[in-house]
């Protein structure tokens, strides 16, 4: 395998060609990079993905519309609610189905809690890659509570299978709303403490500022989405610009990178945008819990889902950016084609061009700041 890829890597006598992965404490999942280095400085880092390819898209053609929902969890198991929601939205568009308001609010609550959990993992593993061990453990401690809360809601801690075509599967258990609010009261000052611990630490800032700057035009051209795009200065968020679900009813701001410690679009911006987004998600959850309407949690959906022939694209603003499901139906009860467009896939595409001249430590910072997860890349 390496020999075939080495065709693209020009060898000189003093350069080392190394495999950075696929088993590695730092790459986020099973990803391999073939790096060609001259001492510490990289000449080229060629990503080599596919170690986690599970042919989910082919499975979508076999299991039928409702049966595919658990598989969507595995498309991005760190932020699984969004994967569920995207698929549900695509199929609901095909069926021309109206989702009841309580279900939309519940979707928003569960998704924003999941966004906080996913960002905690992302930000925590990033700090650990940079060498600070403590912030990650603090972040995971908070994530434990979110996992417990979501377990009360839907029974699972990681791959939720909570959203259904037409709504959600379960309603809030008794007392859940108060527990969530109590957690948020504990979580908001935690973010302040977290920032004080690591975000403004000069050692950390010096590792990330001005490293792997991606200017806005390049980010759009390479198809970056989500916090990566916003970190580069592009003010775009699906929740505000192409709103869906219950988001038009909530007030929240969109953090955009502006070069807090370096140039806009460097690794620190991408990191800090995620920190700020956690605070915004907390606000959304509070507003949603406060204004939750009564009613059904799922629309009337036939048992055997057979949409008429057509195609639909369902997009959500996932923790990693835009997650879009393109579902093609041919009138039978099995989908003709299901396609998941993920943010991490295109983020990998930019690494080869951005990583020229970085050091190995900076490559680690770049991969961590792009928040790539292997299941999203390979599906």
């Amino acid at each position: 395998m390496e020999k075939l890829i080495l065709r693209r890597v020009d060898r000189d006598n003093e350069e080392m060609v190394l495999n950075f992965g696929p088993q590695h404490p730092s790459t986020h999942g099973v990803i391999n990079f073939i790096v060609e280095t001259d001492g510490e400085v990289l000449k080229k880092a060629v990503p080599d993905v596919g170690y986690l390819h599970r042919s989910i898209e082919k499975i979508g053609e076999i299991v039928g519309y409702p049966g595919f929902m658990p598989y969507t969890d595995r498309v991005d198991y760190v932020a699984a609610m969004f994967a569920n929601e995207g698929y549900a939205i695509a199929v609901e568009r095909l069926l021309k189905l109206e989702v009841p308001p309580r279900a939309q609010w519940l979707r928003a609550v569960s998704c924003e809690l999941c966004r906080i959990a996913s960002h905690l993992v992302s930000v925590g593993t990033m700090t650990m890659d940079i060498g600070a061990f403590t912030p990650m453990v603090h972040g995971l401690r908070e994530r434990e509570t979110i996992n417990d809360l979501i377990e009360e809601l839907c029974g699972a801690r990681l791959t939720y299978n909570y959203h259904r075509i037409g709504g959600v599967a379960f309603d809030m258990p008794g007392g859940w709303r108060d527990r969530v609010l109590k957690f948020l009261d504990h979580f908001d000052p935690f973010l302040v403490e977290f920032d004080r611990l690591i975000s403004f630490n000069q050692l950390y800032v010096k590792r990330l500022a001005n490293v792997a700057t991606i200017p806005a035009a390049l980010a759009i051209d390479y198809g970056l989405v989500g916090p990566n795009l916003r970190g580069s200065g592009v003010d775009w968020d699906l929740r505000r610009d192409l709103p869906y679900g219950a988001y038009p009813h909530f007030k929240f701001s969109i953090p955009v990178g502006r070069g807090w410690y370096g140039t806009p679009g460097d690794s620190y911006d991408r990191y800090y945008v995620r920190c700020l987004e956690m605070a915004e998600s907390s606000k959304i959850v509070r507003q949603a819990l406060e204004s939750m309407p009564e009613g059904e949690i799922t629309a009337k959906v036939p048992r055997n889902i057979k949409p008429e022939a057509g195609e639909a694209l369902g997009r959500v603003e996932s923790a990693r950016g835009e997650l879009a499901y393109y579902v093609v139906s041919d009138g039978t009860n099995k989908a003709y084609r299901v396609r998941a467009r993920t943010g991490s896939f295109t983020a990998m595409g930019i690494i080869e061009d951005i990583s020229r001249g970085l050091m190995i430590a900076d490559l680690v910072a770049l991969i961590a700041s792009l928040d790539v997860v292997a299941p999203e890349i390979d599906r």
């Binding site: 596919g50 095909l94 051209d221 198809g223 610009d241 195609e311 396609r339």
Partner: protein, 197 residues
């Protein structure tokens, strides 16, 4: 701009290479002739008022009944907040679509994935090789007529149903035990008949 308006502008500029807008199935699209796709894409990206600068998704759908592989482009504009959807139909026997990597760099990896999983060739692509599957894989899995090869480098991907296999192993073990056990003792001891007699 609505989808209709963008389609009107396209038709006005390119004429017949741009097909009609599909009837409003949920997401309307129009089919573009293969040779004009790069021009059309460049127009859609750079024309002021349209400015579809984000290639949201580029994927393929296999239609063996119609004998085409469709390459689908979803486009979005960050500045004007509208989107559009294009399709190119490639002949299934030798599918080949000019690359739009020169228009949006993100198409680089999308087209590699389509090549890997569907077998569509993209002339002009700087680095067309497989991305998910190993480089020496045979076949294109997402095609509807894909048959698995039964293994790769000696690793089989065919496995018996575990229930069947375990039952077979149990039967084997039972047969071995029966063969290895000592022969059954004689049916009746000789003592009672002797005592009777």
């Amino acid at each position: 701009m609505t989808t209709n308006e963008i389609h009107e502008r396209l038709r006005a500029r390119f004429g017949d290479v741009v097909g009609p807008l599909s009837e409003p199935k949920i997401d309307p699209f129009c089919v573009v002739k293969r040779d004009a796709i790069v021009e059309v894409c460049r127009f859609l990206k750079t024309e002021p008022g349209i400015e579809l600068d984000f290639l949201e998704d580029e994927t393929a759908v296999d239609w063996p009944k119609r004998n085409v592989i469709e390459v689908v482009y979803h486009l979005l504009s960050y500045t004007i907040r509208h989107g559009f959807k294009l399709k190119v139909e490639a002949d299934r026997a030798a599918p080949s679509v000019p690359t739009v990597e020169g228009v949006w760099k993100t198409a680089n990896w999308f087209e590699r994935e389509i090549y890997d999983l569907f077998g569509v060739d993209f002339p002009g692509h700087p680095d067309l090789r497989r991305i998910m599957l190993p480089d020496d894989w045979v076949g294109h899995p997402l095609r509807k007529d894909y048959q698995e090869a039964g293994g790769w480098h000696g690793i089989s991907n065919v496995r018996e149903n575990p229930l069947v296999e375990l039952k077979r192993l149990d039967d084997l073990k039972r047969a071995e035990k029966a063969a290895a056990a000592p022969p059954a003792p004689p049916a009746a001891p000789a003592a009672p008949p002797a005592a009777k007699a």
